[in-house]
Amino acid sequence: MILMIGFKDITLWIHQMLSGYLNPGWVVASEALLVGLAMILLVVIMAVAMIYMERKVAGFMQLRLGPMRVGLWGSMQAFADVLKLLLKECLTPNGADKLLFSLAPFVVLTVSFLALAPFSFAPGLQLWDLNIGVLYISAVSSIGVIGILMAGWSSNNKYSLLGGMRSGAQIVSYELSAGLSIIAIVIMCGSLSIHDIILSQSDGWWIFKGHLPAMFAFVVFVIASTAELNRAPFDLAEAEQELTAGFHTEYSGMQFAMFFLAEYTNMFIVSMVGTTVFLGGWMPFHIVGFEAFNHLMDYVPSFIWFFGKTFFILFLIMWFRWTFPRMRIDQLLKLEWKYLLPLSIINIVIAAFITIMGWHF
């Protein structure tokens, strides 16, 4: 049966096949190349799916239809847009710092790709089983702000600079509560490795197992990561109405597309972190006591579980974007420093207490 073939077997088969033809050094090199290509392919496919989903969700929520003209129900719209951006000139403003200006999109995109490394998409389908996976992701993904600051500074445009600075203030402050909310789960599970975190949820997802602290941590995580993504209601860094487009005002063509891709990749990463830490990664949904139901759930392939949950969180983030109005910068900082941060610290204390008493399942 096809379901019986795990991703582990496929990767093993590829490895053996390559070892048969090449010497070990080349095997590693070609495998790295394959993995890189697979990642790029995954990100591009996901980005196209997310862009289409976002535009449709946005349309329906605003009583519109969204894209309808290109392809069936506008499904080819994203490809048409990419084609258009490919054909456009990448313009550099005269007063810009040329080197930083052209470097910034690459920094932003590279950082997003780096953060993809430790994720586990299905059993046996993991690039790098790092023992500090969660820490690595939250550390790497915050480097992206340097790229944004670079873009804002080097554009030599007051709107870009304002957008970059805002984004810096925002990411630096929301990093804290995003990290703290994950730590609440890490305390309960006792490991920073993505693989271990997923395995620890085989008898129930942390959002259910961890009682109130886990649920609270999930809410904080969604809020803080939406802020880190610079998406509405926290899109002060872009703020179309005040800053035209914020830090990427001066970018055009593929350079702009790279910022766009990085934004969607980050969204994907954040949803995957949420899925892995709170919603059980690729673990199927089980209810204790309902054996027949649990068996039925086991038949759904694990990567479908993973991407289903990822898309659920993506939908949540989109839902926020198309419902809530943008916050002011003072409200933004107030929300973080007066509400999210103190409450998450209290939450961690409670989570630690629950863990010590062994009250989680």
Binding site: M61, Q62, L63
Partner: protein, 160 residues
Amino acid sequence: MKALFRYFSSIFSAFKSLWTGMRLTFYYLSHPKTILTQQYPENRKTLYIPEAFKGEVVLIHDENNEHGCTACRMCEMTCPNGTIKITSITEETEDGKKKKILDEWIYNLGMCTFCAQCIEACPQNAIKMQNTFEHSVYDRKELIKKLNHPGSKLKSTKKI
């Protein structure tokens, strides 16, 4: 204590109001019937244009081919764009009084911004906005229209 209560109640009221908004947008998302967009060229037969849509200015004529315009030129003076040109001729009635009569009500559709100020200004309510659209023509001159129908005259109702 009071401050603490206010702190938490503000959190709850924030979540409540956010949830209200999210419920509304989810209602829209899950009820595609609420969509307002019209797929225009395809649905030309079934197209619905609201009655109040401001498409063009028309002079109201009744079934006797009579209109209410007294050629007072209020609309012409109100129009911010100089869209309206009203020409009148002076006639002498039986009892020797001089009276202005509308000759041509010229409306330049190409210059109109559909602000409807002329309609507000008209003391006789002689003009209105119509919900027609698809006004494109190949020659700009065709947009200059004469709104009073040929042979039409002023309504004979006497003011009391």
